[in-house]
Symmetry: C2
DNA sequence: ACTTAAACGGAGAGATTTTCTCCGTCTTTG
DNA sequence: CAAAGACGGAGAAAATCTCTCCGTTTAAGT
């Protein structure tokens, strides 16, 4: 692959990540094009249709997510700190959020299952370790962790996004939220069981929700 | 005002709240119409243009927000519990989120300043009381509180919204996040000063951000 | 340097979506 | 039960989005 082609691909993928994150998986590809600073032709040449783009993006992100989790585990002996480092890395890369936004749109084929399983396993290891060490509330599941990351690391709506151009606030709020996951912290977590990853996937894949932005038409 | 007119008005405002929350302040009014289950004529008769609708919505929400804060303060003697009650009420009413999404679009006139000041004062009282009682970290500002509410109570993206049709998860995660605001909790909040309300407003009103969904075009 | 194969940007046709008005019908209220 | 007013929806006009085609530019090998 030619060098400029590779560069374009990256720019498109990065732009798509941001755009889908902000506007949902039905965001105009036109917006991706503008954000990426390439011509429409370039996008459509490389990704024949929306699905191809989404699939490439998800695969890319899941791989990087698994990578980050592994690195966090290797770099931090303390289980909670490892988890925290991972959460921050995930936020930086806009990973959790993008993945969740996008997963629902895809027919999950074998390839995707493979890369997803690897990512889930890595993160689950982090979570388990922290819980086994008694450094993380027992009533917090993978689903809770992922959703927390999604919620905190999503770009703020509208002009508020400008508040956090450099991501300082995301990290600040992520730390605040993580503090709530320590064993001693606060009041019980307002009812309900820990949320598992399976529940998350089940909801995301649920058919019959026509609009991806969640608006019932 | 005729009874059915009043009913339509409410349905439109409620629908607009949800829709703007999910799709940003540029969401098609058409979507509001569909969600509200009224005809386009009805919307455009009552709200001549987008601005009129947004203004009415924001005013309505700010008033309810102030109301909720007052009630929380009256109902709970314990300052942290009062704050917590308020946060849950705000989440239920989708208030914080909607307000923040919308504020930026408006020329802030005297009316709006008045209703906004009242709301801010009420919430600030809650916050101060909790801090003075030593039940809330000192390094948390109004901005942090509001943003936390916004982040946690925003509808989840895409199909994930279905996970939380009844709002159970929002309350669960709100409690987790609030737990992170207790004085003892966790590690320091990843650098940075407390975020004030003024900073929030300044960012929201910042001109030169053409797209309200935050996509640079 | 030069050739060639490949990638690039952007104009623009066609399809789709969104805005907003007009009007015939139905509802509230006195 | 009459009149004033509200309602829904069809649809014209405008805006946006998708996707293709093609002349120009760029990278890589000789």
């Amino acid at each position: 692959m030619r060098a400029d082609a590779e560069r374009s691909r990256r720019r498109i993928l990065d732009a798509a990540c941001e755009v889908f994150l902000e506007r949902g998986p039905d965001a105009p590809l036109d917006a991706v094009v503008r954000r990426a600073g390439v011509g429409p032709g370039t996008l459509y040449r490389r990704f024949p249709d929306r699905t191809a783009l989404v699939r490439a993006l998800v695969t890319d992100l899941l791989a990087r997510l698994a990578e980050a989790a592994g690195q966090a585990r290797a770099a931090e002996p303390d289980p909670f700190r490892a988890l925290r480092r991972f959460a921050h890395a995930a936020a930086d890369l806009r990973m959790g959020a993008a993945i969740v936004v996008l997963l629902e749109r895809l027919v999950v084929d074998a390839d995707l299952v493979a890369v997803r399983s690897r990512a889930v396993a890595e993160v689950e290891a982090l979570l388990r370790a922290a819980q086994d060490a008694g450094q993380l509330r027992a009533d917090v599941g993978m689903g809770d962790l992922v959703l927390l990351c999604v919620r905190v690391s999503r770009p703020l709506p509208g002009g508020l996004a400008a508040l956090d151009a450099d991501g300082t606030l995301v990290h600040r709020h992520l730390d605040l939220a993580l503090a709530g996951l320590r064993p001693g912290a606060g009041d019980g977590a307002g009812g309900a069981e820990p949320l598992s990853f399976e529940q998350l996937i089940a909801a995301a894949g649920r058919p019959g929700e026509p609009s991806p932005t969640g608006v019932a038409e």
